[in-house]
Amino acid sequence: MFGLLTSLALAALITLAPTDDDAVTHREFERLQGYSTVVLNHVSDRLGTDNLPNAAGLPVEPGIFVTVLLDRLQIYDRDIVGLNAGRLDQAVAAHECVSGCALTFYDAFQETWLEAAIESSVHAVEIPQRVLFAAHEQVPARSVVDLAYAAAETRPVQPPSLHLLVNSANGGLRAMRFYLIPPGGLDLRQGSAALGLTISISRGKYVVKATDPRFAREHSVGTLAELRRLLADVKRRYPGKESAIIVPDAQVSVGELMAALTVVRPGFPRIVLSAGQRVRTP
C-alpha cells in the first residue's frame, strides 16, 4: 500500500519537478582512472610494492582490498586493528566463524559486507565478488589464511574469489588467485576421483600426502629443490590434477609460502589454502 502511494507521490514529484541548471554537473568530469591504479597507489604508499612477495600473477581486477602490514590491518584505506609482527596480540575466535577465525577479523569483514550491501542498494553497484590481499612478505601466512576465511565466511550469498597480490618482475602489481578448503573441512564422496594432494609447510620442511589410496605414503622433504622433484613425480603419475592444498604452519611467512608456491604452481596451478581443515574420505 505504501509502495503504491509513494509511487503515486513520486509520479507527482516528477511531473512537478523544476529543472535546475545550477546543480552540480558532471559534464566536464573526466573518467576516473583504473581501479588497479588506486590499489597500486595505496599499496605503494602503505606497504611498498618491494615488500610484497615476488611471483607471477594475473592483472588486478576490482575487489575489496585488504592490506596486511606488520603493525596493522587495513580494509580499503581504513585502519581496522593493530598487529604485532603481522599477528593479532590476543586473538579470540569468533563463535560464528566455523574455521575458527579471529573475532576482530570476522567483525571487520561482516561490517565491510554490510556497507557494501548498503552501497549496492543506494548506488546500484554490485557487491564485490573479489577480495584482494596485499600482505607484507614477513607477515605470517596463517594471518592471511585467517583473514581469508573471515572474508569468505561473512560474505552474503556465497564466498568471494580470493587473490593474493604479488610483485611480478615484469608486470608490477599482479594477483594470484587462491581457494580455501571449506571452513568445516571437505567430505569427498565414495569413489571420488580426487587426489587431494596436500602439502604441509613448516620452516625447512615440506610434507606431501594425498587422499587417493593409490598415493602410497607421506613424503617429507627439507628443501624446495627436493619438493620440486617430488611434485614433478606426482604430476607424472597424476597428469590431470591441477590442485594442491597448502597448509602453512604458524611460523611460515607469506614470503616463504610464496617461495614454496613457485615450486608448486607449475604443476599444480590451482592453490587451495587451509588452516588445517581436514579432507575426509569415506
Partner: protein, 256 residues
Amino acid sequence: MQSVHLRSIAALALTTALAASASGCVRGTVMAKLDSDLAPAQRAANSFLHCVEMGSSRCVKVEDAVGGWDAFYILGWLGGGSPLSILEALPNELSMHANPRFVQRRFVAEVERYAVPIRGAECDAGDLQPIDPLIDQVAQVANERMVRLGLWRGDMSGVMQGLVDEAHETLGGGFLVRLDCSHDPHRLWVATREVDGRHVVVGLTTLLPRFLGGAPPSREDVADRLVSRSLGLVTSQAPVVAGDVDPWLPFPIEEF
C-alpha cells in the same frame, strides 16, 4: 472471600486491558507528551517516522526533497565509502545528482526501502547535530581522501565545491538526527531543515561514514542487517554448478 478475590483480579485485568487499549487508540497523544522534551528537529524526525509507519503518501513532499541532502550524502560517500563503488558509480551519481527528479526519486526509494522494517523497529530520535559544521567536515575528509587514493581528477575541485555550496544552501541551519531502533534497521539518520518556521525531514540514510556517525553498530546489529529483507540478501541463492568439488572449490572434481 474467594469470589471477592476473583472479582478484584477481574477488575484489575479489565483496568489493565482498558489502559492498554486506550494507549493504543490515542498513540499520537502519548507520543506528543513524550516529544515535549525534544528539540523541534527531533520531533520532526519522530513525526516523519510515524508518518512512514502509517504508510502515508505525504511523508515526502515535493518541496522537501532537496539537492543539498543528496550533495551531503555524496560527500560522505566520497569520504568513507568504498573506493570500488566510488570508481564505478561516481560519474553516474553526479549525473543523477544534476537532475532534481532523480534526487527526489532517491529519497522516495530510500523511504520505501525501509518503510516495512521501520514499522516494527521501535525507533526513537536520539542525538542531533547541527548540519553546517558536518558539511565542512565531510568535505574536508572527502577532499583529502580523494587525493590520497589517487581519485582526484579533472574538474574534481569544482565538483566538490559545488556539492559543498549546494549542501550549505539548502540544508543550512538544519540538523542531522540519529534515530535508534530496537530492530532492523537499528539505526537511521535523518536530515531536517526549517521551512516556514517548522522543521521537515529532507533526507534519510542507514549508513553514515564512521567519522560522522559516532560509535559503530554492534556485531549483533550488523549480523541482523546482513540478513534483513530491506537489503534483499536473505532471498538470494548462490548458483550451484554440477561437477564442482564444493561451492568453496568451484572447479571440476577431476582436477582436484
